[in-house]
């Protein structure tokens, strides 16, 4: 089932209204939570785009960090330059990583991407003249540091990301991605340009992950290597996407909102140390109870109701 972009307009409108509404009416605390959701959702969509051609990555912290760092290193010029630098550097890095890992199968790919993200701290430490080394670096603030305006920027990015995700889900790309994911040997022989499609997925995913990183770096204007090249940024997109529902645009968004809200509740009850224990609990619960994610679960309910309704219509 491919997605028609036109039918998706209400979804984009809903994202925009939700983000815009929060930006205008919510209090500062809620705006911060919304910003956290937007960053995580961007990263989750980025992860899902890559996973659609069967590449399960644990390296999105790498794109996130490259985006953040390149935006910081080119912070002094026009406000658009950090975005171009961060996203561009990520797209290039993603293409290179894609070429390096083309031959790697499944788990080998996952471990290699895990390594990619963690190893990137080394160049940051070596070239400390440019990157600030272990002491960190100060990127330019997005929207002058006004949280409400930042949320508007983030919402706009999220809508763009949702459109990109839907384009990948549309009839133009979906069959090729599906073939590569499910029957890689068959894909090449039936005329799918496997290498080109995979690299395209990498570049799109990298660019989106980079955008998340640039946004994150510009929220508070200060980053250190251990903060952005952190395993958490690799696990988070995987977790929220699988919880929400893979291979969809709404799934990662739903999953992010649910997990972030649970995190806030846990932080209030458990405190700063170990509150992520709910992450573990929620993940295990979802995998055991609804393996197709929230989206799949809800869809299943809707389908069942619909088939019940059609059965009821017939005498």
């Amino acid at each position: 089932m491919s997605t028609k972009i036109v039918w998706r307009l209400p979804v984009y409108l809903a994202i925009g209204l939700l983000g815009g509404g929060f930006a205008y009416w919510a209090d500062p605390y809620l705006i911060q939570i919304a910003l956290g959701v937007v960053v995580a959702a961007l990263l989750a969509l980025s992860w899902d785009v890559l996973s659609r051609c069967g590449q399960v990555s644990l390296g999105h912290a790498g794109f996130f960090g490259i985006g953040a760092y390149f935006s910081a290193m080119f912070a002094e010029f026009h406000p658009a330059i950090p975005w171009i630098a961060g996203i561009g550097a990520c797209a290039i890095a993603a293409a290179l990583l894609g070429m390096l890992t083309l031959r790697l199968q499944r788990v080998y790919f996952t471990i290699a991407t895990l390594g990619f993200a963690l190893a990137l701290q080394v160049p940051v430490l070596i070239f400390d003249g440019w990157t600030g080394g272990a002491g960190g670096i100060a990127p330019a603030l997005v929207a002058g540091g006004d949280p409400a305006a930042q949320l508007l920027v983030g919402t706009a990015l999220l809508v763009i990301a949702a459109v990109i995700s839907d384009v990948v889900l549309s009839a133009w790309f979906r069959p090729a991605f599906f073939m590569i994911r499910t029957k890689p040997e068959l894909a090449a022989s039936s005329g799918v340009p496997v290498v080109r499609t995979k690299l395209l997925a990498f570049v799109m995913s990298g660019a989106l992950g980079g955008a998340a990183g640039v946004l994150y770096a510009g929220l508070y204007g200060y980053i250190v290597p251990g903060d952005v090249f952190n395993l958490n940024w690799s696990v988070l997109p995987l977790a929220v996407t699988i919880l929400g529902g893979m291979d969809t645009t709404l799934g990662p968004l739903l999953g992010t909102i649910v997990l972030r809200l649970l995190e806030e509740v846990a932080r209030a009850y458990i405190g700063g140390v170990g509150y992520q224990v709910v992450y573990g609990g929620v993940i295990i619960f979802f995998i055991a109870v609804m393996p197709t994610g929230l989206y799949g679960f809800l869809r299943g309910i809707v389908m069942r109701l619909r088939s019940d309704a059609t059965k009821a219509d017939k005498p």
Binding site: L100, L104, Y108, T110, I111, A119, I283, I287, P291
Partner: protein, 293 residues
């Protein structure tokens, strides 16, 4: 630079290799048999370290004995985790299985942080073996003990896998689960066995950790990530590969730490540069086989 300044870090690296191999061989055994990458393996090592630590500090039990108690407990916990959770998701997609063990890891680490605080503790007990002096090279007794136990554990795993009934059962079940089922073998039991043996070796490795590293909730993630690099380097599922991978990694790390300025803070970066270099030549590790789809 003379011979001794080179030999000292080299020998200490080999002691570290033994610990890495102890962590990685259990992990690669689990993957080799069940085809699940257990991201929580390092956290079982961490739990084993805490058990050994508390047995030594509260009840005065020597780590040499405590690590076996830890190993038995971790074996039991692995059985619980396998039958309670992992056995139910064997049919699910690869990414779900990956996330399942990641979730387990997050759950264990954070529970440990809540129970025991994230602070690092050092275990102060008399060294189990005397310090070894070879000319100007000295090897502390604890490192020597770790090296010896690590090698023994590794050899024991190799023996069990290759020469025992359990090993035969596990190899048959992993080679062709369907055929094994038709032949009347209990595949589920074989998989559980792999996890229990993996948990047992994680417990022993945890005991070793408590002797040479700080005991803290994050120590397992640190070792676990290195162990992934090691088993991918050696070839997933290959126990000899895990040993080779551990030796390669620990020597490279030892050399970088000793001779590259600032190299001590590179952490896993080193591991993955080595790994990518190997992948460029052999995409399934040094001793690995191509995965069947």
């Amino acid at each position: 630079m003379d011979f001794a300044t080179l030999l000292q870090p080299l020998l200490l690296s080999l002691a570290a290799a033994s610990l890495y191999a102890a962590v990685a061989s259990g992990l690669t055994l689990e993957f080799g048999v069940v085809k699940i990458v257990n991201f929580a393996h390092g956290d079982f090592v961490m739990l084993g370290a805490f058990v050994t630590y508390f047995l030594a500090t509260r009840y005065g039990i020597s780590p040499a004995l405590g690590m076996f108690i830890a190993a038995l407990l971790m074996g039991a916990l692995s059985a619980l985790v396998y039958y309670g959770f992992l056995a139910r998701i064997l049919k699910q997609d690869q990414h779900n299985q990956l996330l399942a063990t990641l979730g387990l890891s997050i759950l264990i680490v954070n529970t440990a942080a809540i129970l025991w605080t994230p602070d690092a503790r050092a275990l102060h007990v008399p060294e189990i073996l005397p310090t070894l002096h070879l000319g100007r090279v000295t090897i502390p007794g604890n490192n020597l003990f770790v090296a010896l136990v690590g090698v023994c554990l590794y050899l024991a795993l190799l023996y069990v896998l290759n020469y025992s009934r359990w090993g035969t059962l596990m190899r048959l079940a992993s080679d062709d689960p369907e055929l094994a089922t038709y032949s009347g073998l209990d595949v589920n039991k074989a998989f559980a066995l792999a996890f229990i043996i993996g948990g047992f070796s994680a417990g022993i490795a945890g005991g070793l950790v408590s002797l040479v590293l700080y005991v803290q909730p994050l120590v397992g993630i640190d070792l676990g990530i290195r162990a992934f690099a090691i088993i991918a380097l050696g070839g997933l599922g290959s126990v000899p590969g895990a040993m080779i991978g551990a030796v390669v990694l620990s020597i490279v790390e030892g050399i970088v730490n000793a001779f590259v300025p600032g190299g001590g803070s590179w952490g896993y970066g080193i591991a993955f540069v080595v790994l990518i270099a190997v992948f460029l030549v052999r995409p399934y590790g040094l001793f690995g086989k191509e995965l069947r789809s």
